[in-house]
Symmetry: D2
Subunit: 421 residues, 4 copies
């Protein structure tokens, strides 16, 4: 999911989904992408507001290019590409799949139009029909759908960033009434863990991206992890206490970033309001804070006298949770974190860990183009766990590894504290 783009390679694919299930998944995932794009004009779908982001149109086409390239081209004799020129436009970063347009030039593609991209999707979906029942294709299709779900999340965060640049503050969706919970003063709860040897990583059952495995043992010391995510209210206290002005709270690179970029609050904050996919709204203090960088998460934990969890700690605790629980994406709309009476480990926002994104022991990249995938991003990034309000429900797992550079914060990113016991 990176360089704000993409990612992942299926495990050998003993994914035991029935044929009907594959077709059902295919149709519902593909439909969700288009539902997310429904309120976009052709011009909206063309915008690219920074190099980390991509146009909505590009996400819609790139995920389709994946099925066309790795399934239709390989498995359907005589399949004719929708357009011979488009692979150059919609390949992302697969060096082995040939030349491609510079990342930052994606925002200059007024053609093809959004309508043409939708037609491209229909063309590919129709051609995919026969493959949906083919067990030999199930693994790659599962990969393609997981890949598309990643882009569904990016489509939302990228268009949010683009619309935020517009002084008119356009709303993509109508605002939704939000129930406020009376949570203030709720006691901080910690989930304790006695440490010892734990197993983490994907166990090979069902789909997972390559980097999630192999499963392996890790030795942990006793620790506790907070049951709830850090909230806007707590972040306001951090700001009020001069959190952004005390160099000793910050990593050296983080402090340089704060000064260079003039950072003083999470992305999208302005006074007591924040920008959402429904335009500018008042912030709810009881809602988990989001759109923070690793640097900010780490400084907050320092300030709070705690630390960020490491990946294995988070995963050990989450083993008991339902990864499909919590505030995740069920349908297109103005997603946002919400206050929860019974907090889940999943949902609302991705949670920064103190673990660098590096290979699990005995990790091996897959062969061939699909194998260019996740291994190549293993320097300089940190792992995030959980799922966010923009993650399609069903996409994530306890062993799921999201990863971003420590300064990036246009995703729905937040934090949960940890401490030694």
């Amino acid at each position: 999911m990176h360089k704000g783009v993409t990612a992942g390679l299926a495990q050998p694919a003993d994914t035991a989904q029935g044929a009907g299930e594959v077709a059902h998944s295919y149709r519902s995932v593909r439909a969700l992408s288009e539902a997310l794009a429904a309120p976009l004009s052709d011009a909206d779908a063309t915008l690219q507001s920074m190099e980390d982001a991509s146009p909505a149109k590009w996400h819609l086409a790139h995920t389709t290019w994946f099925f066309e390239t790795f399934l239709l081209r390989e498995r359907v004799p005589g399949y004719a590409r929708f357009s011979d020129d488009w692979p150059f436009l919609f390949n992302s970063y697969y060096e082995s799949e040939g030349a491609r347009i510079d990342r930052f030039a994606r925002g200059l593609l007024s053609r093809p139009t959004l309508a043409e991209v939708i037609a491209y999707r229909a063309h590919v979906d129709a051609a995919m029909g026969p493959l949906l029942d083919d067990p030999e294709c199930a693994g790659l299709i599962a990969l393609g759908l997981a890949h598309e779900q990643q882009h569904e999340e990016l489509l939302q965060t990228d268009i949010k960033h683009a619309l935020f640049q517009n002084p008119l503050g356009p709303a993509l969706w109508p605002p939704q009434p939000r129930a406020r919970l009376a949570m203030e003063g709720a006691p901080a709860k910690w989930i304790e863990h006695s440490g010892g040897t734990v197993s983490i990583g994907h166990d090979g059952n069902g789909f997972a991206f390559d980097c999630e495995g192999p499963r392996h043992e890790v030795l942990l010391q006793p620790f506790a992890i907070s049951a709830a995510l850090v909230t806007n209210r707590e972040w306001d206290a951090f700001i009020a206490d001069g959190g952004y002005a005390q160099p000793l709270l910050w990593l050296s690179d983080g402090w340089a970033w704060v000064r260079r970029e003039g950072i003083g609050a999470p992305l999208y904050w302005d006074g007591t309001r924040h920008f959402t996919l429904a335009g500018w709204e008042e912030r709810d203090p009881d809602v988990p804070v989001t759109h923070i960088s690793y640097f900010e998460a780490d400084a907050f934990a320092q300030w709070a006298g705690a630390r960020l969890p490491i990946e294995a700690e988070w995963e050990a605790v989450a083993a008991a949770s339902d990864p499909a629980s919590g505030n995740q994406l069920d349908r297109a709309g103005p997603v946002q974190p919400v206050a929860e009476a019974a907090p889940s480990l999943f949902g609302n926002c991705w949670q920064w860990t103190r673990s660098a994104y590096l290979p699990h022991p005995r990790f091996r990249a897959a062969e061939g183009a699909v194998g260019e995938y996740n291994g190549k991003f293993m320097s300089g990034q940190f792992v995030l766990k959980g799922a966010s309000c923009a993650t399609p429900r069903g996409h994530s797992r306890a062993c799921y590894r999201n990863f971003f550079y420590p300064h990036q914060r246009w995703q729905f990113t937040g934090l949960r504290l940890a401490k030694d016991m």
Copy 2:
């Protein structure tokens, strides 16, 4: 017309146009802008491919903002702005008219849509109706229309630059058949001038931008100026002779630019083809070369053993020509230079002179916001004379002063040689 944007301030406005004429001009100029934008999608009209350029949508709105701000707001009691937020978006660089969006953020405005901008134009045009017969408004209206004509030219050159970025090479218009003239081998002709004291600058009759005056005398030495513009064929010879590889032909800043940017041909050239508003086409060798920078024009003149004319030389010779002659813009379409049997001083492309864009003697900037205009651009730029295939016919004059930085070349810019006698 600058920083790729705009420009100009009317002389005190003794413009003796009849009332009906004003209304007629207003309607035809305004209609031409919309005709030029007719083949654009909303997404096309949103693109900004470099800081020098602006989105088509922005040109359409900014020229309308001019009439709303300097005429409707001042002269129509109770006039209600179409939108209170839009001035922030569509002011260009008028410091005295308040804050405005960063130039390079213009390309992130997917909203308002092209359709909304067209509605804005209709709203303002309707409100302007009563003013078109008001003699007191004639001067400012003439200024607004000349201003809009400048943006009509920029709209064409800016969208050309934006579409050029697209690897698909989209055509905005269908290609047009072009008559080829049998011109090869035609003798080079020189227009000779004996020098002496000549008068240049605007004489106060009819509309002109402020920087075109005052009229004043200049002492010239005998010189000659070539009757024809330099052609693609001649430019090919310059390239074949290693013109882009010989540092001694180039100005120091020009040579640094050639190396830094890897320049080896005019903008839009690729092999024997060039990019046009009708997509990629074969170049006609007999057609005047265009899309060259001042640096390139100067190096070519060095190579040819000649020099560029100075502004006063060009203007002295052009005094006898009809400024409405030659290949200029009559209607929306895929404009391009053409070969001419009887070359005109006007039309085809703007011609670089060796004169810096500086004030004429006794030039004074006008007071007030409209007066921020042309004077402020008087450092670092060079004067171009004539008119191009994208200039609305009737817009230019012998004393007209177009100006750009020496590295800029996305306008229809070419050259005509001069020599001492």
Copy 3:
């Protein structure tokens, strides 16, 4: 030792050095710094060739500022600073010690002169006399000396980088005859380890930097680590096989770096020669390769069908080695890696590991200014183990953690391969 700079914080200092030993260490470490600077002119000592590096003069003064600030100022009543202005110049990055000069402006300090800096050293050394016998000072002095040893290494690598910029290729020292070993064809040897639970990190006996502890258990899988460092000959084979031209071998950030910087060989290589502190010399193929980035080390390991070791693997194997063995710095001179018949884990060059530089479990930063130290660098960097030919012998340990960004390579950095068993 970072941002190419500095340093570390002592464990609580139960350093059981006798008083005489402290004084002896102090004098020999301090003398070595000056011996390293002996061949430098005032101008040499002023050079700063990139932001990562510092002038030699600055290293000499900054290490002295440490003793003046944390020992003399605190412990010697009435001590008068050598100069009240110098702390601003020679503080490195201690936010709590007040303002300091911009890193990259260090190279503009022609004043104070090298001679004045040497006088500063003498002044501080004289004042330090009484403290060398004070057991309460022993911990901080050990820290100051370890800190100075780090800068002794940086002084050598920074001046090497600076002289390399000079087209004259100046030699700092006369070349030394080097014994060539007949090693070609020697069988690659692997040191095998059966994995299981191992203890790593500093055990609290003797001096260590804060980040080296606490000691803790880690669970390892069976692995092997190569007995020898990768050599110039092997690196030549990597280049000959197109190693720098195959994107699939590289991390994504690494490939971007290769293309952006035009990288095609280790730093300081040119043809069959390389630049050394004795000027340009022919490379010896049997000598360990050095001056490579993490990106290069990782790509080489990919190409070789192996991987880099993780920190705990390296440390577990090194527990049995003498950290004072191998090719390390004994006296000032033109240090370089050498071929060894019986390779040591220490010496010749620092070895990249696949482990990010992150805190050991239960790591806590020390309080106060000295505590700003190592924790703040824990994002984006990788751990290197061992010691180099420029490391003062006695400085390093198995638990020692050197760290640099993955693109940096002006240190003596090389690699040792690892593989799963």
Copy 4:
């Protein structure tokens, strides 16, 4: 003299200096360069504080390279270069003289040392002996000396800029007592000129740089030029009146520069003090302001209701003045503008004109390497007239054309107002 470097080509050299005079000039000019460098340490002489500037050592060697390359190499059979490597280091920008070091890498040349450069000078001076009496060499020697005088001025302004970067504020020379004149309230005086046809440009008698000719006629309108230079007191009033905060006073490029660079005062100003070659001193309000850019000069003139003179106006008025008068450089020392009871047109500081640096009519660049010279700088720069306190007396003339980019201000640059009559 450009890109803060150099420049100039002799007129065909009918310079009627007697042989003894040539030798005398040679020795005194060469001696002055070394006197200016006398207070510099080797490290001082190595500093390069920005790309526009060069190390003192470089100036001393480059001017010597000129004599070695264009005279000794051509005219002395068997002359052996002092070093074969040095031309690569000390060529400035002569494309035809082969490769050369990147401009900004000049500051990394700790070797050769200042002493070696001085030895180089002695070697060349000795070899030049026989040529000083050769009439055929007189023209080129005059050029070389004029060239060296330009670098003498640059040596002073470049080292001033470099020492200014040092927080210690080092003084190169001891401060000099300065007589203060009681000038406050002195009436502003204007020198009036009735306009008409005037001749400007070099008339061919004696040495001049190529760009100063040919002499030609220009038609002027009546104007006046202020007898005195603008003072620090007047500049304080400009600041107090918000001069740096009013966009309408500024050229568009100038306003962008003010905001980008955070400009609010002349270079070297801090409160009521300014940095000089004798360190930090209180400013004298009656002394001409200096170290201002064209942008600032133009904005001041706007604010004062006046304008800058054009080159021909200044030159027409200066025809009656002695170019060797005023405050110019007679010997090495801490030069600065001074208050003058009877102001001269020459001396104190170079004066910005409103004229772009473009060729005089019928200007032709000389052939060969020396001819690369001045013509290549003719875009984007403005002409300055007069002479400064750092200009060797005897170097300048009424027709002398100094030129810099409009944002540059590390030279001794000031202004004199003009107005229409």
